[in-house]
C-alpha cells in the first residue's frame, strides 16, 4: 500500500455494505415509514389475516345501509321468530330484524373500540412520557396514580361509573372505557421512556440544545411508535369487549344498536331457551372476530419492531 500523505477521502457516497440502495426520494419521511410498515405487516401471515378481517368489518360498518336488508330499528316483523328467509337471524321481542342489527352494530363496536382505544392510548402516552423522562416527585406521583388505576378492578369500576353518569350515549361508554384502560399502557410506555432516555442520541439531542418538549416528542416518542401502536390495539381490543359487556349489562343506551345490545335483548327474552341461539352466537362471534383481528395485527406490529420475528 502506498504511503498516504493526505486525509484518505471518506468512504464513497454509497450505502453501508448490507443495506440495499435507497437514496433520496421525494416521498416525505413519515409516509415512507407508513408505507414500509404496511408492507411489512402485509408480509406477516397473522397480520395479513387480521388486516383482512378488520377490513371486512370496516366495510360492513361503512356500507351498512347497503348491506343490511332492513332497518335495524323497525319493529315491523313478527317478534320472537327464529331464522327464516326474511330475517336471517330471527327477530327480537320487539319485532326487529337481528341480522340488520348485527350489520349496523358493527358501527358502534368499531367506533367505541377505536375511539376508546385512541383516548386511552393518548392518556397513556402523555402520562408515560412525562413520568418516564424525569425521575423525581412528578414521576412518583404519576406512578402512584397509575398503580392505583391498575389495582382497581376494571369492570366493577366501569359498572359504577356507567350507572352514575347522566346521559347514556355511545360517548359516555367511550369515556368510561378509556378511563379504565389507560393504566397498562402508561406503565409500559413509562418503562420504555426510561430506557430510551439513557440512549446516547437523547444525550446528543440535549447537547444540540434541544429543550425538554422537543426531546420527549421529537426524539423519544418517534422511537416508540410500534409500542404505542401495539398499546393502541391492545386498548382497542379491551374496549370492544368492555363496551359489549356494559351494553349487555343494560348500562348502555338500550336504543343504541350494537352487538352488546343484541346480547342484552337476547338475555331479556331468554333467547337460548326459546331456541334462538343464533341471536346469541352471531353477535358473540362478531365481537370475537373484531378482537381477534386487532390482536393479529398486533402480532404483525411485534415483527415490525423486531426483525427476527419476521416470517420468511
Amino acid at each position: 500500500m502506498t504511503v498516504i500523505t493526505s486525509i484518505p477521502p471518506p468512504e464513497a457516497a454509497g450505502e453501508a455494505a448490507s443495506v440495499p440502495a435507497g437514496g433520496a426520494s421525494s416521498v416525505p419521511l413519515p409516509l415512507r415509514f407508513v408505507g414500509r410498515a404496511l408492507r411489512t405487516l402485509w408480509g406477516n401471515g397473522k397480520a395479513r389475516t387480521g388486516m383482512i378481517v378488520l377490513g371486512l368489518i370496516i366495510v360492513v360498518a361503512v356500507f351498512a345501509p347497503l348491506i343490511a336488508p332492513h332497518s335495524p330499528t323497525a319493529t315491523t316483523f313478527t317478534p320472537y321468530r327464529g331464522p327464516n328467509a326474511t330475517n336471517l337471524l330471527g327477530t327480537t321481542g320487539n319485532g326487529q330484524d337481528v341480522f340488520s342489527q348485527l350489520i349496523y352494530g358493527a358501527r358502534v363496536s368499531l367506533i367505541v373500540g377505536l375511539c376508546a382505544g385512541a383516548l386511552a392510548t393518548l392518556v397513556a402516552v402523555t402520562l408515560g412520557l412525562i413520568s418516564g423522562y424525569r425521575p423525581g416527585a412528578l414521576d412518583e406521583v404519576l406512578s402512584f396514580v397509575t398503580n392505583l388505576a391498575l389495582v382497581i378492578p376494571g369492570i366493577p369500576l366501569m359498572i359504577i361509573l356507567a350507572a352514575y353518569l347522566q346521559g347514556r350515549s355511545v360517548w359516555t361508554i367511550v369515556l368510561v372505557v378509556a378511563f379504565t384502560s389507560w393504566a397498562t399502557g402508561a406503565r409500559v410506555i413509562r418503562s420504555q421512556t426510561k430506557t430510551l432516555r439513557t440512549r446516547e442520541f437523547v444525550t446528543s439531542a440535549v447537547f444540540s440544545g434541544e429543550r425538554l418538549f422537543r426531546v420527549t416528542f421529537r426524539e423519544i416518542l418517534p422511537n416508540m411508535t410500534s409500542l404505542v401502536a401495539a398499546s393502541f390495539f391492545a386498548a382497542a381490543t379491551a374496549a370492544v369487549l368492555a363496551e359489549a359487556s356494559l351494553e349487555f349489562l343494560g348500562l348502555g343506551n338500550p336504543s343504541t344498536v350494537s352487538w352488546g345490545t343484541i346480547l342484552y335483548a337476547a338475555q331479556q327474552q331468554n333467547a337460548l331457551l326459546t331456541g334462538q341461539w343464533l341471536m346469541v352466537f352471531a353477535p358473540g362471534l362478531a365481537i370475537v372476530l373484531l378482537m381477534v383481528s386487532f390482536t393479529l395485527v398486533n402480532f404483525g406490529l411485534d415483527a415490525l419492531s423486531n426483525p427476527r420475528l419476521r416470517e420468511k
Binding site: 484518505p8 455494505a17 448490507s18 440495499p20 426483525p307 427476527r308 420468511k312
Partner: protein
C-alpha cells in the same frame, strides 16, 4: 484426519421479503486437531457469521445455504435437533462477544454451571449441588477466578470476569473445539490482554482446537498459529501468524497492517483504506477488493481470484499469484 473440514460454506441472510444478502461466499476451512486459528476482518465481512455457521448456531433470518461441514468425520451441516445436541456434548463450544448477553441475568453463576452440566449429563456425572459446586470451582480456577464468583450474578461481575465465566462455561463439557467470537472487543486494553493470556494458556494446556474471531489483527497475530483474513464474505488470505508482518501479502492484508503502529516510535503515521466494502446483496464479478485496491488490473475486475500459494500460505490475488509464480520460476 482434520478435526474440522468445511467446504463450500455459503450463508444467506434474508432480513425482509425479497432481500438477500450473501454474508459468507464459498468458504473452505480446514482445521487440524490442536490448531489455534485466527479469523480476521472488519465489520460486515462475515467472520462472525462464518463462526456461527461452523458451530451450527445460525438463526433466522440467516441460514446455511450450501456446503459441507465435517466435524470429526461427521457432516454436521445436515444434522438437526437431538442429533446436533449430542454432537455439541463432546464436540464444540462457542464463546460470544459480550459476556452479559450470553449469561442469564437472573441466574447465578453456579446455576449456569448446573444448567449446562445437567443438559448434557452423562451417566456417572455427579450432579448434586456439591458436585456442581466442585466442578464449577475447578472450572473457575482454570480461568483464574475465585470460587466466590459462583454465588454471584452476572451484573455483579465486571466485564472481564463475565467473559472469563463464559469461557469457563465453554470448557465445562471439555469440547474439542472452541470458537471465540470477538471475546475481548467490549473490554478495555488491560483486561483484554489478561483475558487473551488466559485463553492462550488454556489452549496450550488443554490442546483444544480454537478459532479466534476478531477485527483486531494485533490481538489475533499475538495469540494464534495461523491467520485467515476475510473480506466481503470470502477468505482472501491464509498464512502462518509469524509470516504476516513480513513479505508480500494480499493488498487488503497489507492495508490492514498499515492501520497499526507503535505509539512509542519516533514518528508515527497511520494508514486508512479509502472506499467502502461492496454491497453483499449483489453477486460480484471479479475480485471484491478491486475497487479499493492500488494494484488492481483488468483481470481483477472480471475474474474472481482463487486462493493460490503465497509466501508460506495462500492468498486470493491475481497480482500476487503472478509475482509468486515469477519468483518460483526465476
Amino acid at each position: 484426519m482434520p478435526l474440522l473440514e468445511a467446504r463450500g460454506v455459503n450463508v444467506v441472510y434474508e432480513p425482509n421479503r425479497g432481500q438477500r444478502i450473501w454474508s459468507v461466499r464459498d468458504v473452505d476451512v480446514t482445521l487440524e486437531q490442536g490448531e489455534f486459528v485466527g479469523l480476521v476482518g472488519e465489520s460486515g465481512c462475515g467472520k462472525s457469521t462464518l463462526g456461527f455457521a461452523l458451530t451450527r448456531m445460525l438463526r433466522p433470518p440467516a441460514r446455511l445455504s450450501g456446503g459441507v461441514i465435517r466435524f470429526d468425520g461427521t457432516d454436521i451441516a445436515t444434522l438437526d435437533g437431538e442429533q446436533l445436541r449430542r454432537q455439541r456434548r463432546n464436540g464444540f463450544a462457542l464463546v460470544l462477544q459480550s459476556g452479559m448477553n450470553a449469561l442469564n441475568p437472573v441466574r447465578s453463576v453456579a446455576r449456569h454451571f448446573g444448567d449446562i452440566l445437567k443438559a448434557h449429563a452423562r451417566p456417572g456425572d455427579d450432579l448434586s449441588a456439591a458436585g456442581v459446586r466442585r466442578r464449577g470451582t475447578e472450572l473457575l480456577e482454570s480461568v483464574r477466578l475465585d470460587a466466590a464468583v459462583l454465588t454471584r450474578f452476572p451484573h455483579e461481575l465486571s466485564g472481564g470476569m463475565r467473559q472469563r465465566v463464559s469461557i469457563a462455561l465453554a470448557l465445562a463439557l471439555q469440547p474439542r473445539m472452541i470458537v471465540f467470537d470477538e471475546p475481548t472487543t467490549a473490554l478495555d486494553v488491560i483486561v483484554q490482554q489478561a483475558v487473551m493470556e488466559t485463553i492462550k494458556d488454556l489452549q496450550r494446556e488443554r490442546g483444544f482446537t480454537a478459532i479466534l474471531i476478531s477485527h483486531d489483527l494485533g490481538v489475533v497475530l499475538d495469540a494464534t498459529d495461523r491467520v485467515m483474513v476475510m473480506y466481503a464474505g470470502r477468505i482472501v488470505e491464509d498464512q502462518p501468524a509469524g509470516v504476516m508482518t513480513r513479505g508480500l501479502h494480499h493488498p487488503y492484508t497489507e492495508a490492514l497492517l498499515d492501520c497499526y503502529g507503535d505509539p512509542r516510535a519516533d514518528e508515527v503515521r497511520l494508514g486508512g483504506i479509502p472506499g467502502t466494502p461492496p454491497d453483499l446483496s449483489l453477486p460480484n464479478a471479479g475480485c471484491s477488493f478491486a475497487p479499493r485496491c492500488p494494484l488492481a488490473e483488468e483481470i481483477c475486475l472480471t475474474t474472481d481470484p482463487p486462493l493460490s500459494p503465497l509466501e508460506e500460505g495462500r492468498a486470493a490475488c491475481h497480482v500476487r499469484a503472478r509475482e509468486e509464480e515469477a519468483i518460483n520460476v526465476g
